[in-house]
């Protein structure tokens, strides 16, 4: 006999008030109050969580948006998950619109696969399900031993393009590096537009140059039976000249990516596109981290508009730079929560999603 279904509780584990806005919107859409919880830092900077209502037998949804203090954000989430688990919650679902450390998702030299470590920590803490959005690499789902729903922001961004860019049919979708080409194709296919790919000059953070490919030869072990002769191959050019594969002349250029953090590569791309004849430049990204000096740099750049979703709070950045626009994605997150709580299928939320998205 299955246990009777408990209620639904929505918490936010953010101690930072500006990070609670998304949780408030989601709760409002679902017609529920945010659960009573206190999350704060003690004098010694340790995180303290006090859940002030019963969670026994309930579906607990913990909404955690990533603030500037990312490691504190993670600890807040883990401590709250563990608190709910030890308080007999029926299910503990993490709603983490932007999954932190998602760029560190593969081996680089002798580094750590941090997103795998984080996934293991979340599972160990007691998470039973994860809802996230536009993971940097979809393979991160496989780092978890629990179900992961990787929602997509692209329908909202596509809608923005169609409604807010009047002459979007004269646009070309641009990947600012070859790594983003798949996403660009996905957008281009649904808007029925062409694509262009930028390559060269600014070294991509995703570059494999930081992998072990350029380690010096090690000293051979004397004990080796067949010490192999090594022939060095052509080392890549220091800075390949910047190239744009595809035509952007006389067009609107829409640069698409999943994350906009340090804006240097976007600014370099915008400059290149302007030189190649693009007359307007938009940047569309799901996660607007916009760290350090990003708002000022965008304001002074050739970029006409930066469109991001509210997976990460960026109200301060918007005050500094009116070019930054926000698309609200609380609707899809609240619908995902409702469906999971009611045991309904999630596939409806993926109905307009392409394989490459």
């Amino acid at each position: 006999m299955s246990a009777p279904k408990g209620g639904l509780v929505i918490f936010t584990a953010n101690s930072n008030p500006s990070s609670r806005e998304l949780a408030r919107r989601i709760a409002e859409r679902l017609g529920v109050e945010l659960g009573k919880v206190q999350v704060y830092q003690e004098a010694n900077r340790e995180t303290r969580v006090q859940i002030e209502e019963s969670v026994r037998g309930k579906d607990v949804f913990i909404i955690q948006t990533v603030s500037k203090d990312v490691n504190t954000t993670i600890m807040e989430l883990l401590i709250m998950v563990y608190a709910c688990r030890t308080s007999c919650a029926r299910n503990i679902i993490g709603v983490i619109p932007y999954f932190p450390y998602s760029k560190q998702c593969k081996m680089r030299k002798r580094g750590s696969i941090v997103s795998k470590l984080l996934a293991s920590m979340m599972c160990k803490a007691g998470l039973t399900h994860l809802i996230t959005m536009d993971l940097h690499q979809k393979e991160i789902q496989g780092f978890f031993n629990i179900p992961v729903d990787n929602l997509r922001a692209s329908p909202f961004l596509l809608q923005y393009i169609q409604e807010e860019i009047p002459d979007y049919r004269n646009a070309v979708i641009v990947a600012k590096s070859p790594a983003s080409a798949k996403r660009a194709q996905s957008f281009a296919e649904r808007l029925r537009l062409g694509i262009a790919v930028i390559h060269g000059e600014a070294q991509d953070a995703e570059s494999d140059l930081v992998d072990g490919r350029h380690s010096p030869p090690t000293v051979k072990n004397i004990g080796a039976i067949h010490p192999s002769l090594e022939i060095p191959l052509l080392i890549p050019k220091e800075k390949p000249p910047i190239t744009v594969v595809g035509d952007v002349g006389g067009r609107i250029a829409i640069i698409v990516d999943d994350i906009i953090d340090d804006v240097d590569s976007f600014l370099a791309a915008a400059e290149t596109l302007k030189e190649r004849g693009a007359y307007k430049i938009f940047v569309m990204a799901t996660h607007g981290i916009l760290s350090s000096d990003a708002p000022r740099l965008i304001e002074e750049s050739a970029i006409d508009e930066v469109v991001v979703t509210n997976t990460i709070p960026h109200e301060i950045q918007k005050l500094q730079c009116p070019k930054i626009k926000t698309v609200d994605i609380s609707m899809i997150l609240s619908e995902a929560i409702r469906r999971i709580h009611n045991g309904e299928s999630m596939s409806y939320l993926f109905r307009n999603i392409g394989m490459d998205d």
């Binding site: 998702c105 593969k106 081996m107 030299k109 696969i113 293991s120 979809k138 393979e139 991160i140 789902q141 496989g142 992961v148 590096s177 070859p178 790594a179 080409a181 798949k182 194709q185 281009a188 296919e189 029925r192 062409g194 694509i195 790919v197 390559h199 995703e206 494999d208 992998d211 072990g212 490919r213 350029h214 380690s215 010096p216 030869p217 090690t218 051979k220 072990n221 004990g223 080796a224 039976i225 067949h226 192999s228 002769l229 090594e230 022939i231 060095p232 191959l233 080392i235 890549p236 050019k237 390949p240 190239t243 594969v245 595809g246 299928s345 999630m346 596939s347 993926f350 394989m355 490459d356």
Partner: protein, 318 residues
């Protein structure tokens, strides 16, 4: 090399033999057979107690049988007191099922990773994983070797006009791989992307970049039924390419692949021997093979001796 044993599964004995020869070792004695009910039975024919064991088995052919055979061999060595068991899997099985690309889809590559860990593998050596994030599916070390240095060497030695070539990705997903090779050769790159003009219209392949009067080299990590790569070749010829080569790490070549290659306009289709190609080469003279046994052998030697493996990412052993 003391305290090292290399065993071969039945998927690719030729590659295992080449690896053993390069290391100056004999392949370990192992008998793999099937019972009448089709269950796999493995008997390790020599002591592995205290040994550093390497089991070579590729994910090809009868893929589930070969996977089970590998798991059973790993487990047999582990419970026979091997100090360390390393699975050398040149072509990782189920690598394309690495994410939930639609509702209720399994992440089978993660399942395979769990199976290998549960069976007792301490270390994995593989080549050109479909997505390098698969390394994160394991809680044990994974060395994902690259065929790229061997590919660059082949291009320079076998394509006289390589300085006047364009490296082409047959889809947007391979753009990063292609630009890496293009940069190292100091040449241009292009990519082909699918464009749907109307909702009910068939995908149209659009070439982004210039190949006119150049040699076009299509590069991808694997080719299965070869539909995409053959369409891409036609597109490149119609765009003015003088010759078209395809270079692929894993030549699976299932279903209509061989007849498609024979009918396509390739100068050559070049694959590595992570998967056995002898039978396919008999039916298709366009297929050429790059031997990567020396890369795997050197990775085994370095792992056994506790040396760094990262040097192999940009150099190819002779």
């Amino acid at each position: 090399m003391p305290n090292i044993k290399i065993f071969s599964g039945s998927s690719h004995q030729d590659l295992s033999q080449k690896i053993a020869d390069r290391l100056g070792l004999e392949l370990g004695k192992v008998v793999t057979k099937k019972f009448s009910n089709q269950e796999t039975c493995v008997e390790i024919g020599e002591s592995v107690r205290g040994e550093d064991v390497y089991i070579v088995q590729s994910g090809c052919g009868e893929i589930n049988d070969n996977l089970m055979e590998l798991l059973i061999m790993i487990n047999a060595c582990k419970i026979a007191s091997a100090t360390r068991v390393t699975a050398v899997i040149p072509c990782f099985p189920y690598a394309r099922q690495d994410k939930k690309d639609k509702s209720r889809a399994p992440i089978s590559a993660k399942l395979v990773a769990n199976m290998l860990s549960v069976s007792g593998a301490d270390h994995i050596i593989t080549m050109d994983l479909h997505a390098s994030q698969i390394q994160g599916f394991f809680d044990i070390p994974v060395d994902n070797l690259y065929a790229e240095p061997a590919v660059l060497k082949w291009i320079k030695e076998n394509i006289p006009e390589w300085k006047n070539c364009t490296i082409v990705s047959p889809d947007a997903g391979g753009a990063k791989r292609v630009t890496s090779i293009a940069d190292r050769l100091n040449v241009d790159f292009a990519l082909i992307h699918k464009e749907r003009k109307k909702a009910n219209e068939v995908d149209r392949m659009v070439l982004v970049g210039d190949v006119k009067d150049r040699v076009a080299i299509l590069v991808d990590d694997m080719a299965d039924t070869c539909g995409t790569v053959c369409h891409a070749a036609d597109k490149l010829i119609s765009a003015g390419a003088t010759k078209v080569y395809a270079i692929l790490t894993h030549g699976i070549f299932s279903g209509p692949a061989i007849s498609r290659i024979n009918n396509a306009c390739f100068e050559a289709v070049v694959v590595t021997n992570t998967i056995p190609q002898e039978e396919k080469m008999k039916h298709c003279p366009k297929i050429q093979v790059i031997d990567i046994s020396m890369i795997l052998a050197e990775a085994i030697r370095r792992t056994h001796n506790g040396e760094s493996v990262s040097y192999l990412f940009s150099h190819v052993p002779l």
